[in-house]
Amino acid sequence: MEIELSGEQRFLQETVRKFLEQESPLSAVRERAAKGEAPFEPGFWRQAAELGWTAMLIPEEYGGAAGEHPVLDLVIVAEEIGRAIAPGPFLPAAVVIDALLRSGSAEQQQEHLPALADGSVIATWAMGEAPDGWEPAEPATQARPDGDGYLLSGEKAAVEAAEVADLFLVTATTPDGVAQFLVPAGAEGVSVRPLPQYDLGRLFGDVTLTDVRVPASALVGEPGGIGAVLEHQYQLAITLLCAETAGLTEKIFDTTIDYMRNRYAFGRPIGSYQALKHRISDHKLWLEAALGLSTALANALDSEDEHVARLASATKAHVGEQSLKIVSDCSQFTGGIAQTWEHDMHLYLRRATVNRSLYGSPEQHKERLCRLAGL
């Protein structure tokens, strides 16, 4: 069990933090959103890739730079992304890379991994479906065999970076069971509807597939034989999402403590009032739990622990629910100023709110936990 960061991991944390402070300050996120621009330029993502954000999961034999604890390394980056409300398709890129590594053919790996690793190609996972369909193994999207290929039809909802993606990894049901396909964004029958920006640092879109013809070589893994791979992708997505959420919550928690020390009412700092101190102490507990769960989940994935599914759902349920409560209460502590557009609080509140739903709500994961426990 790795709890304390190694020297290399601390260095990674520092590097990511500095990079984001320089390349993606909150002022830049705001500015781009105000102009209606995408939250990041391709150049930003290529720079991030150069820093190794994409290569961390890829073993050396495929040209990557995966360390001893690849998921824990990714978690460190995800926490920093959360702290900075940074843009960039970090999570979807990691999930697609994970799928290719675990179930892709040698040709697919050779073709796609280098371009995903250097950031020249943006790929995303088209998994979720409306409304709130976040069970990876049960897509309503259909893939009908057609000649030597497949015809894909269906609607994928809330796909991250859909507008800027070059490549979609689409989950769909075939007569042989669930399967995943690599679909170029430019393929005929693919259309993307950009969604209004709720989280100012990220793009989401709905992807409609209308009789999209793909060759059999677009299949990643065997139809009906990728249950474990899908589950792993899902767990990885939850891990990174929760680490990001825990990171942003820690950042807003620290900022709020600072405010509570320096804001005076009735001649004393508001942080000296027990009514607030007791609430913030509970938040401290649940924040430590969120960070502890993220680390434990990363360790469980790195060590291929058998209870990882349970830990993943417990983490998503806890982080999804408590982080939003903490951020929202920090907004209350900060008072009127935190309700203005100029204050950064809403940037954090927005991301925490979106992350509560993505990849399953706390309620859905509690239900999942019951099924996993045999109830």
């Binding site: 709890i3 942080g271 027990q274 007791h278 102490s281 401290k284 502890g292 417990a314 509690k366 999942r368």
Partner: protein, 416 residues
């Protein structure tokens, strides 16, 4: 001295010894049994502790000159791992994890050499007498007095909420020795045989009907000055040390050999039990019941990762020692919420059937659930500690801090 045995070799030796010497665990904690069985459990724990001591496994991190093994935390963890699943004399945890570390830290050479070997070999159980009927959270506001009379002190007053005083041998008792000093500066810590003349121990019957806590009354108990632990009027320092060891034990970091079960009475398969109950009351398909079961699974799943994270930060010095209060707050809130969830799922049957019914027992546990948010420092005190000493927010205003204790206002006891 020969070269120290490696933790691995020590663990392997412990494993082999445990397999042929220790009974398998029974599963029932001391909080769940009646008084008679409790005394039987204590008697067999004393024998078991002696057995472990004679085999050279007791007091793993205690110095050898006091009967310990003089080994490291790694050896202690190896022992805990090697003995998982066996019955252990864990009734000694409070003695070995709180009182003996305090004695080791503050006791005189005579006190240590007279008592530590007996403590480690199962002859002496110790307990702390801190809370009083007039107040528990405001520990330094205590009223029990020991008035000096030459080389002895005369003890009068009452203590409450001591766990297992009726089956223990010695106590550490925090008392006031100077009424004119400010509250924290007029306290002293004494050790004392519990069966001293003038001491009356009365078990307290709790709402659940059980009696695991006691109240003690002191009527002119004569204490020799040699029973002082630390200097006269410096008892607050000793008490703070004691409380530090207590938090440390709850966090799994103190000197006690055996694992301390922080969950209290039900450290068994909480989730398994809840699922069985959900099925028993026919609520398997009830969406609300399933949400509650899911919440319980989350609470169980987050405990270890949270405790591990806090402990790692404590060890690395990135959190101050009072951060152990976060762990205590977690166990208080978690235990209470689990009792609440069980009651919600159990429904009417939980309050109609007695403790012999698997659902009825939930209603009984619910009645006792508040113990978990009060005992060992109420959750409110933990929140004060976390906000002030971990997060660093300003302290509460305390009008009694630098005033002679005789001038301090107390419960309907207005002076002046």
């Amino acid at each position: 001295m020969s070269e120290q045995e490696s933790p691995e070799a020590f663990g392997a030796r412990a494993r082999a010894w445990a397999a042929s010497n220790l009974p398998r665990a029974e599963g029932r904690g001391i909080m769940e049994v009646d008084d008679e069985e409790e005394l039987r459990i204590v008697a067999s724990a004393r024998e078991l502790q002696k057995l472990i001591f004679d085999a050279g496994f007791a007091g793993i991190r205690y110095p050898t000159e006091y009967g310990g093994q003089g080994l490291t935390r790694e050896h202690q963890l190896a022992w805990r791992e090697a003995t998982a699943g066996y019955q252990l004399p864990d009734v000694f945890n409070v003695t070995h994890g709180i009182l003996a570390p305090t004695l080791l830290q503050f006791g005189t050479e005579d006190q240590k050499s007279a008592h530590l070997p007996k403590i480690l070999s199962g002859q002496e159980l110790w307990v702390q007498f801190l809370s009083e009927p007039s107040g528990g959270s405001d520990l330094a506001g205590l009223l029990t007095r020991a008035d000096r009379d030459g080389d002895t002190f005369r003890l009068n007053g009452s203590k409450i909420w001591s766990t297992g005083a009726h089956f223990s041998d010695y106590c550490m008792v925090l008392v006031r020795t100077n009424m004119e000093a400010p509250k924290h500066r007029g306290l002293s810590m004494f050790m004392m045989p519990i069966r001293s003349p003038g001491v009356t121990v009365t078990p307290i019957k709790l709402v659940t009907g059980g009696s695991h806590f006691c109240q003690e009354f002191f009527d002119d108990v004569i204490l020799p000055a040699s029973y002082l632990i630390g200097a006269e009027n410096e008892g607050w320092r000793v008490a703070s040390g004691l409380l530090f060891h207590e938090r440390n034990m709850v966090g799994g970091n103190s000197l006690n050999d055996h694992v301390y079960a922080s969950g209290g009475e039900d450290d068994g398969d909480v989730v398994g039990e809840l699922i069985a109950i959900t099925k028993a009351v026919g609520r398997s398909q009830d969406a609300l019941a399933r949400q509650l079961v899911g919440e319980a699974i989350v609470l169980e799943a987050l405990a270890d990762p949270t405790i591990n994270r806090i402990n790692a930060q404590l060890r690395a010095g990135r959190m101050p020692p009072p951060a152990a209060s976060i762990v205590r707050l977690l166990s208080g809130l978690k235990g209470f919420r689990l009792a609440e969830i069980a009651l919600q799922i159990g429904g009417t049957r939980a309050v109609m059937e007695g403790r012999d019914d698997p659902v009825g027992v939930l209603g009984q546990r619910w009645l006792g659930a508040r113990t978990g948010t009060i005992a060992g420092g109420s959750v409110e005190m933990q929140r004060n500690g976390i906000s002030e000493h971990v997060i660093g927010l300003p302290r509460e205003a305390t009008p009694d801090r630098d005033v002679p204790f005789s001038q301090v206002l107390a419960n309907r006891r207005q002076r002046g």
